[in-house]
């Protein structure tokens, strides 16, 4: 008995030490890169080269010149990130609106209505999510080149909608499944058609799920890189923020700290949205977890 107890005590002691140490380690690896990103974005490159080990900026070095350089249009000697932000924003917004327009009715149908092929439809849609993006990239690249829509934001937007519509339907369907059908049935008794029941009863109830879904889609579209690279790389005016940063990252002419400001601009909307909606989004991200 005493030996078991002592083993228990030893384990507890060790864990009492290891646990906080490990939590600190996790915090360092998750937060430090972003802290470092923000820090470098406020100092000129010379300061970094002089003191690469600095963990905090020297007050004298702090300035906003990097942000001015990165945001200003190329005509004014900047990097044109303001324009990239506009492109990213348009694509992300368009993707959200279009995706929800097709996926809300779709999810409702898959969740509520008995129709032939309903199960197969959702299986196919989910399968899309696991398909190698690079495999899809080839025919879409060829197709949009052929119809001369490659290089347009609209072309990119259509591709995004197709990519996320399936996931969106899957997530929303799970939520519609939790809304009791009996509520709608009573509406049907009162003479509502399906569409009316959907619009006036299930949609308002599903609003939290729809908002979290919208955020999720927005973040996917804002972050996307591969298709932006394939579609828009030739025309700098059409670059998204992700694409712009990746393209300029290799060049020697643009100082790293200026690009770091670009990285902050790319990351900030996502992190802000994420923290504002953490509760919603955590639900959204795990929505696929319990397939039940």
């Amino acid at each position: 008995m005493s030996t078991t107890l002592s083993r228990d005590q030893i384990e507890r002691r060790v864990l009492d030490f290891l646990r906080p140490a490990f939590i600190v380690f996790l915090l360092v690896i998750t937060v430090f890169p972003f802290y470092y990103m923000v820090m470098l974005s406020f100092v000129p490159l010379d300061a970094v080269l002089q003191d690469p080990g600095a963990l905090y900026p020297h007050l004298g070095d702090l300035n906003l010149g990097t942000y001015r350089d990165v945001l200003a249009p190329t005509d004014d000697g900047g990097q044109g990130f303001l324009n990239f932000m506009k492109n990213s924003f348009l694509v992300a917004m368009g993707t959200v609106v279009l995706t929800l327009a097709v996926s809300i009715p779709g999810a409702y149908a898959v969740s509520r209505l008995e129709f032939f092929g309903r199960r197969q439809v959702s299986a196919v849609f989910l399968g899309v999510y696991f398909f190698p993006a690079i495999l899809l990239a080839i025919p879409l690249f060829v197709f949009f080149t052929r119809i001369e829509q490659r290089g347009t934001l609209t072309g990119l937007l259509v591709v995004y909608v197709a990519q996320v519509a399936a996931v969106s339907i899957y997530m929303l369907r799970n939520y519609f499944d939790t809304i009791p059908a009996s509520i709608e049935e009573s509406a049907a008794m009162d003479g509502c058609t399906r569409i009316q029941a959907m619009r006036h009863i299930s949609l308002p109830l599903a609003l939290p799920a729809i908002v979290s879904n919208a955020l999720f889609i927005w973040m996917i579209a804002w972050n996307e890189f591969l298709f932006a690279l394939l579609f828009l790389v030739e025309d700098r005016d059409r670059w998204t923020v992700s694409l712009g940063l990746s393209q300029l990252a290799g060049s020697i002419e643009v100082p790293t700290t200026v690009l770091m400001a670009g990285a902050v601009i790319l990351t900030l909307p996502i992190v802000v949205m994420f923290f504002l909606s953490e509760r919603w989004l955590a639900g959204g991200l795990t929505a696929g977890a319990e397939k039940g």
């Binding site: 078991t4 228990d8 864990l15 939590i23 915090l27 998750t30 890169p33 470092y36 990103m37 080269l49 080990g53 327009a101 097709v102 996926s103 009715p105 779709g106 149908a109 898959v110 509520r112 209505l113 008995e114 129709f115 439809v121 196919v124 849609f125 899309v128 696991f130 398909f131 190698p132 993006a133 690079i134 495999l135 990239a137 080839i138 025919p139 197709f143 259509v158 909608v161 197709a162 399936a166 339907i169 399906r194 973040m219 972050n223 890189f225 591969l226 923020v241 992700s242 694409l243 940063l245 990746s246 990252a249 990285a263 790319l266 992190v271 923290f275 955590a282 991200l285 795990t286 977890a289």
Partner: protein, 336 residues
Amino acid sequence: MSTGGPTAQIPVVEERSTSAPRPRRHGGSARAREDRRTGYLLITPTAVIVFTMVVLPILWTISLAFQQVRLLNLRTAGFLGDYSLENFRDVLTSPGFVDALITTLIYSVGGTTCAVGLGLLAALALRKPFRGRGLVRACMLLPYVAPVVAATFVWTTILNPQFGIANHYLTTLVGVDEPIAFLSSAENLSPFGINLHVSTALFSVVMFEAWRSFPFAFLFLTARMQAIPESLEEAATVDGATPTQRFRYIVLPQLLPTIAVLTVLRFIWTFNNFDDIYLLTGGGAGTQVVAVRVYDYLINRGDIGAAAAMALVLAAILAVLVGTYLKFFGRQEEVA
């Protein structure tokens, strides 16, 4: 060809609604028929866009893989053409393809294992409530939600051999002689003189993958842990089970099904991953995975047919691997 396809696809969907299985003679079949019609109506927009932008392209990739199509003669490429197996032969025998395949395997197995393992440890460490735990948990998700381009950019800066902060402290504090080119050194790692056939750069991208994806595992495992009834562990504690015993015999068995699902998901995504490696190393220094090679064939060589063939090979291998995994572990998962 490709524009004719999508429009041809719509009638198929709609046709079904008229020739749908005869309504079974249940009560309320008028309602059922209305439901069916509404169902098709509501699903059609998604079906159309997914068919035109996903299903047809996949079919077209298969068609392209059997044709000699290059960027230069793109205008003449269609669904039909002179089919041959030449692309597959070229791709499979091209120098470096097998290496790329092995690299892909090392990358996805290593990345998946480290990501799920780290996620499990993080979920365990943050299990007991403490002040500020909510904030810490939210911070854990940062690497996962951050844009991949920003994350790779900041890590390439941190690991930069000239002015990166990692090398600065490795040389000044830890006493490493020379800065390590984490992302561009093709030198094989050989701890204790054992050559692992894994280049420094490949090791770095695997670590990056672990860093970036562990929050995903963490999130799911945390959710699963919350569903474990406390009474089980309390009973075990009363019976004298130590913390590791409680983990081994109570918590872990409950988590296994979730871990199995996570492993499949992460493996699929890592196996297909293009962005991370392209952005970190460009596929150099022994990190060329198949997805990056496909991109290289498509854009730099302009050999669309070969790129399509290689992408198909990649998808086929993935399907076989996942199928095998599900066959062997799918049953265990149900038991657990």
